[in-house]
């Protein structure tokens, strides 16, 4: 199994909605990106899995603070640092995909956040999903009401979520070398899903 870096993973899944971001190769490049964006960013080490657990994700990074943070994260990863527009989300989801030896490629939709593993609120569907299946799958989640709008907020745009799921499904169906996909978290901002982190895992040998 080979895990692609976040940046490479996102290139494989080019059609997903991402925050504005850049893979920066130097402090100067990083400072230029943050200044041009004009708002705080998230800085993430590159080429490392499970970055949150390793303390390799920093929030609220500005043009004046990015320098030293860039040095630390570059040293902890592959020498580059991923900078992304910081998004305010009302809900976190997880969208993924994997292969079952009998049922072939599957895609999953789950409730994300820090308690995701505890609740294990995930539903799988055969890839590629057929029309209406994503909406039906969401209705199977225990936390389905979270997607219907929190405290008067907008509901999750199910069509947009279905497009995220379709993109993940298409990669698994079209590329037999892809073993697993993990879009975690998928931040929902004003109802619109935005993929903040993505991971593509390749199998050692291409298999169906």
């Amino acid at each position: 199994m080979k895990t692609l870096s976040e940046w490479e993973s996102k290139r494989r899944l080019a059609d997903l909605p991402y925050p504005r971001e850049a893979l920066t190769g130097s402090r100067e490049e990083a400072e230029r990106f943050v200044s041009a964006l004009g708002k705080p960013v998230v800085a993430k080490a590159s080429g490392v899995a499970h970055k949150t657990e390793g303390g390799l994700v920093r929030f609220g990074v500005t043009a004046s603070t990015v320098g030293p943070i860039w040095d630390q994260l570059a040293a902890a990863g592959d020498g580059k640092v991923l900078l992304a527009e910081q998004v305010a989300a009302e809900l976190e989801l997880i969208v993924g995909g994997y292969r079952d030896p009998s049922f072939g490629p599957l895609v999953t939709i789950g409730i994300g956040g820090i308690a995701a593993e505890i609740f294990g609120d995930v539903v799988a569907l055969l890839a590629p999903p057929e029309p209406g299946e994503v909406a039906n799958a969401v209705a199977q989640l225990s936390g389905r009401k979270l997607l219907q709008g929190i405290r008067g907020g907008p509901p999750v745009d199910i069509d947009a979520l279905a497009r995220v799921v379709d993109t993940v499904a298409r990669l698994l169906v079209e590329d037999p070398s892809v073993a697993e996909v993990d879009c975690n978290p998928v931040m929902v901002c004003q109802g619109a899903p935005m993929v903040v982190d993505a991971l593509v895992v390749l199998a050692d040998h291409a298999s169906a």
Partner: protein
């Protein structure tokens, strides 16, 4: 692919009955087979007859179905004998093959090769056999089960577990529902559950299908086959091994969180197959499917009762199952007001009360059935054996065809009226609701 010679054989050969000890399993199989299906012959190295049935040393004629129950070391020769004689299908009930490990698997693969090269279908090994209604009062019992139900009906059942087959037959005896076909597939060396499902989908005698599943090896094909059947015939599945830990150390959160059961669940959902959570729910949903409760999905139901507490339990179950309990129409309530005591609760549940004049049960229940807002009925009667309560339900079903499930306790007269109308009674108020919900 035809499994006619398996489910509708006109001639049978049985391998493995003892000439000296009629208590052997093979002798049970022989007498079961001889007790219904037409032409039966035993195959035995030196006996001329076993338990009154003629025997031959080698099969000397074309037959439809070979039943093989010899010790594992002699199975290969028996399969070859049946294949050489041109048998249409063979069931190997004997154990000691793929389920024991790699060496057993090698022999099992040879059995498949022998069968396929002769154009013979193979069921098993390591299974309990076949039971099939052949029409009229004729039954095929090509199984080790010495007690099988003899009520014919539209329900067929396929099992990957022989022992669960025993639980199935015990349930069928208790429910009194009618059977069409039963097949225990064992190790599924050749014929698996998908093959059986495909044949049952086209079987005119089968109207509903139950399956006990431990694993589905050909997932996508199963989905493709099942989804062509479920619009015409309900398919209900009980999957064992749901909690088996996902052995894969997934790099992704979703892969490990979804668990090993997620793929089967996704497949069953796409195929329109009803998946039951446990044994009780499986038999309830299967019974509901067998009597056609699924033909008209009911989301808006009325709970009709004379028993307060149990009907509240039913209402709780309805909410959990996502069913709605709408208020009856104005005209229905006005009609009921003239029939039931003033203190009767005419919300939903609708409590007619034990004090309802006996002659008014029938028109009151008929009025509830006729209400356009109501798609299905749960009838609950604990211990008030006033036959008209049952008659009202029976007439409501006859007039409207609305799906109905009941919980009746100590009211044999009421129960008989309902049974006469084909209304299923369940073991608790909640199970009656859940059975109705399984079709919604």
């Amino acid at each position: 692919m035809s499994l006619d010679s398996l489910f509708k054989p006109r001639s049978i050969a049985v391998y493995g009955a003892s000439a000296t000890d009629s208590r052997k399993l093979g002798n049970t199989l022989l007498s079961n087979a001889a007790n219904g299906a037409g032409d039966v012959v035993a195959v035995h190295p030196d006996a001329a007859a076993i338990d009154g049935i003629p025997a031959v040393a080698k099969l000397d004629r074309r037959i439809d179905l070979a039943l093989i129950s010899v010790p594992d070391k002699r199975v290969e020769a028996a399969v070859a004998d049946a294949a050489a004689a041109g048998a249409g299908a063979a069931i190997v009930l004997s154990s000691g093959f793929g389920e024991t490990g790699a060496a057993g698997r090698v022999v099992q693969d040879r059995l498949v090769t022998i069968a396929r090269s002769a154009g013979m279908r193979l069921v098993g090994p390591n299974c309990m056999g076949v039971v099939s209604h052949l029409g009229g009062d004729r039954w095929l019992n090509g199984s080790y089960f010495w007690r099988i139900p003899n009520t014919a009906g539209g329900l067929s059942f396929v099992s990957q577990s022989g022992a669960f087959g025993g639980m199935f037959f015990a349930h069928m005896r208790a429910s009194g529902l009618g059977l069409s076909r039963f097949l225990s597939v064992g190790n599924s060396a050749d014929i698996g559950i998908t093959d059986a499902l495909e044949w049952l989908g086209d079987d005119a005698q089968t109207s509903a299908i139950g399956m006990f599943v431990e694993g589905i090896g050909d997932g996508r094909r199963f989905v493709d086959v099942a989804r062509t059947i479920t619009p015409r015939k309900p398919v209900v599945v009980l999957k064992a091994g749901k909690m088996a830990a996902g052995a894969k150390a997934a790099a992704s959160h979703t892969g490990s969180m979804a668990g090993s059961h997620a793929a089967i669940r996704a497949g069953l959902r796409r195929a329109g197959v009803i998946e039951a959570a446990d044994t009780e729910a499986f038999f309830d949903a299967m019974d509901a499917a067998a009597v056609g409760l699924r033909k008209k999905p009911a989301r808006n139901i009325a709970i009709v009762t004379i028993s307060g507490g149990p009907s509240v339990l039913a209402a709780d179950a309805a909410e959990r199952a996502g069913l709605a309990l709408p208020t009856l129409g104005r005209a229905t309530i006005d009609r009921l007001r003239g029939l039931v005591p003033a203190f009767a609760a005419l919300g939903n549940p609708i409590d007619l009360t034990p004090q309802c004049p006996i002659d008014n049960f029938i028109p009151a229940i008929e009025a509830i059935y006729a209400d356009a807002a109501i798609e299905g009925i749960v009838a609950i009667n604990c211990g008030l054996d006033m036959k008209p309560f049952g008659t009202g339900v029976a007439r409501g079903v006859a007039a409207t065809g609305k799906p109905t499930a009941a919980f009746v306790l100590d009211a044999p007269g009421v129960e008989a009226e309902m049974a006469g109308a084909g209304v299923l009674r369940f073991a608790s108020p909640e199970r009656a609701v859940n059975a109705l919900a399984s079709g919604a």
